[in-house]
């Protein structure tokens, strides 16, 4: 199976890291904005947060404020030429599991796969037990489900500190 190149901008990484820091005990997440092409891969330029009013932050559940995120996407996407597209989602689980996604998560993924012809990503941050240290897992979403992007292991790395 051909590898799909993926790149996440420092700004998007910082945005996700800041949001993880804001919500250490509950789930959080947002949308990924960028460019995506089966040949060139996925380039994530922006990552949104979930909002501040009609947003759900629980220990095991998260739902973004749809109106807020739509507005943010409209603003951020048009800052770029050509405009960015929605290229995925990101969210956080407080623990880790061999089964990364629930059926609820998979329903979100299904909407992305059916809504967009380009490859989409799902970035999952899993708590490691150590404060402020998460394991970042990247998945390419397909009609059959999702495929984890495995990077070469770094013998010295225990987790990515954000």
């Amino acid at each position: 199976m051909r590898a799909l190149p993926c790149w996440i901008s420092p700004r998007a990484q910082k945005a996700m890291g800041n949001e993880l820091a804001r919500f250490p005990r509950t789930e959080t997440g947002g949308l990924l904005l960028g460019y995506s092409d089966p040949a060139a891969g996925v380039r994530v330029w922006e990552a949104t947060d979930g909002g501040y009013e009609k947003v759900l932050h629980e220990e095991s559940a998260f739902a973004y404020d749809l109106d807020y995120v739509r507005h943010l996407c409209d603003i951020l996407c048009e800052l770029y030429t050509p405009p960015l597209e929605i290229v995925g989602v990101w969210h956080k689980h407080n623990g880790s599991s061999d089964i990364p996604f629930s059926r609820a998560d998979e329903e979100i993924h299904r909407q992305l796969v059916e809504g967009y012809p380009h490859p989409c990503l799902s970035i999952l941050f899993e708590g490691t037990g150590a404060e402020d240290v998460y394991e970042m897992r990247l998945f390419v979403l397909t009609k059959e489900g999702c495929r984890e992007i495995i990077e070469a292991p770094d013998p010295g790395a225990e987790g990515k500190k954000l």
Partner: protein, 56 residues
């Protein structure tokens, strides 16, 4: 100072709707125990009574 702005062509973006959850709800058919967990199938064994849990 005059500036020329570019018109923004409105784009329809499909935003996924729903919740992200760290697990799905399962209920024991024997004792009623209801918990959230992640399993691949639609059934699991209840840790309280050993009965059959069904995805709800």
């Amino acid at each position: 100072m005059k500036i020329q702005i570019q018109k923004i062509q409105g784009r329809e973006r499909i935003l996924p709707i729903g919740k992200f959850c760290d697990g799905d709800w399962f209920k024991c058919q024997k004792c009623g125990n209801t918990i959230r967990m992640k399993v691949l199938g639609n059934y699991a064994t209840c840790s309280e009574c050993g009965g059959r849990m069904v995805r709800i």
